[in-house]
Amino acid sequence: MIILALGTVLIISQSAFKSPDSLTQETLGQKLFFDPILSRTTKISCASCHKEEFAFADTSAVSLGVHRRKGVRNTPSAMNMSLQVAFFWDGRATTLEQQALIPLQNPIEMDLPVATAVSRLQHNAFYKAAFQTVFHEAANSANLAKALSAFERTLEAGDSPFDDWRLNDNEAAVSESAKRGFAIFNTKGHCIQCHFGPDFNDVEFRSIGLYDGKALRDSGRACVTKKKSDVGRFKIGALRNVAITAPYMHNGMFKTLRQVIDYYNDPDKIVSRSINRDTLLNTPIGLTEQEKTDLENFLISLTDKRFAAKLKNKGASNHLNRL
């Protein structure tokens, strides 16, 4: 009798999720985000590159699109977008709705014209009903973008050990090393000069010296604005969950957080002839090895608790946080 009841509950809950009648903009967007119907080959979805278990980022320097075509920039996390004002490394989109449709059409990503995507959705029984339920109209480019961006806006992560420490005054939430790291972040490291705000990134575009016109040829923001002053500038990366979104920077050139810290500590040692680098990075910081570890531990403490297991697998929390 109990088994029958449990089975009934399971069936009902499963069909409730599958039924278009119960969908909201956010859950429709979630379904679309994970659906390869939005790619030419029907093999790639948004989630193929924005992997949920890695805070909706990717684990390779650049991602592979349809037919394994290589991307040109590192896939950033799709989390914590609600408070952002620019999207993509070069800021070419200024709203999430605008951002949502660009990878669909990009030949090296999902390679599907929006009109074709819309047509597929209109001829798919589930989506035909779903769009009627949610938007009271057939699928079109506007409501497709709306659904995807509505889902992305739900991906807010503000429950990290760091948040527990600062919001709840829970001194046991983070290690002493992480606390020292936070102090370094705000003082000697000067990280706060660019990485400030609820997601630890500013709205500006900055050049940290990863453009030299030779080996490093992506001019970033200048691709959009065509301004010489924007050469080498990129959107400042948000730092929540950064510990699980390696590799780092617009080209994924740094494999670990320590490599990132080493770079900022003395950029000329890594990229000797950068062009248009921000003057904030002119002087080596002079961090000791302990200070670098502390800074790293602070960054690790920005990992949302839902990804704690992922940190454990990386060995980060077992070793560094004990210091």
Binding site: R166, L167, D169, P198
Partner: protein, 130 residues
């Protein structure tokens, strides 16, 4: 005469120190302001602690951390984002049962901090334990 002088000095030092003790600093605790930005609701919260530190939160995400002190109804506030050596100054207006406050800028060149506080009314949530 010497005794009176010593006593006067002692009292004049003691009085300012006790003028604003932990127990009667009305700014201590959590303060909240809700509003809308770009059509989206947001929640601003500030925690002022007895040890002279404060944190600001947007939608429960920490976005600023700094130091403050109060002198009667004047708030002096600094953080590393703006300049940790520079104090913005605000007149703090408390009303209700000291459970609401309003910031009035006196002088603050830090645009972001001014925009987040000046003229805004915050309601008190919980008194800080520290």
């Amino acid at each position: 005469m010497k005794k009176i002088l010593c006593l006067s000095i002692f009292v004049s030092v003691l009085l300012p120190v006790t003028a604003f003790t932990i127990d009667d600093n009305p700014l201590l605790g959590k303060w909240e302001h809700s509003g809308k930005s770009q059509g989206q609701p947001f929640n601003l919260m500030a925690i002022f602690r007895a040890n002279g530190t404060y944190d600001g939160f947007i939608n429960k995400k920490e976005f600023v951390s700094g130091v403050y002190h109060m002198n009667h109804d004047t708030l002096y506030i600094a953080d590393a984002t703006c300049n940790d050596k520079y104090n913005g100054t605000y007149k703090m207006e408390f009303f209700g049962k000291l459970d609401s406050l309003k910031f009035h800028v006196i002088q603050d060149t830090c645009v972001g901090r001014r925009q987040a506080t000046d003229g805004k009314v915050f309601k008190k949530l919980v008194t800080a334990g520290k």
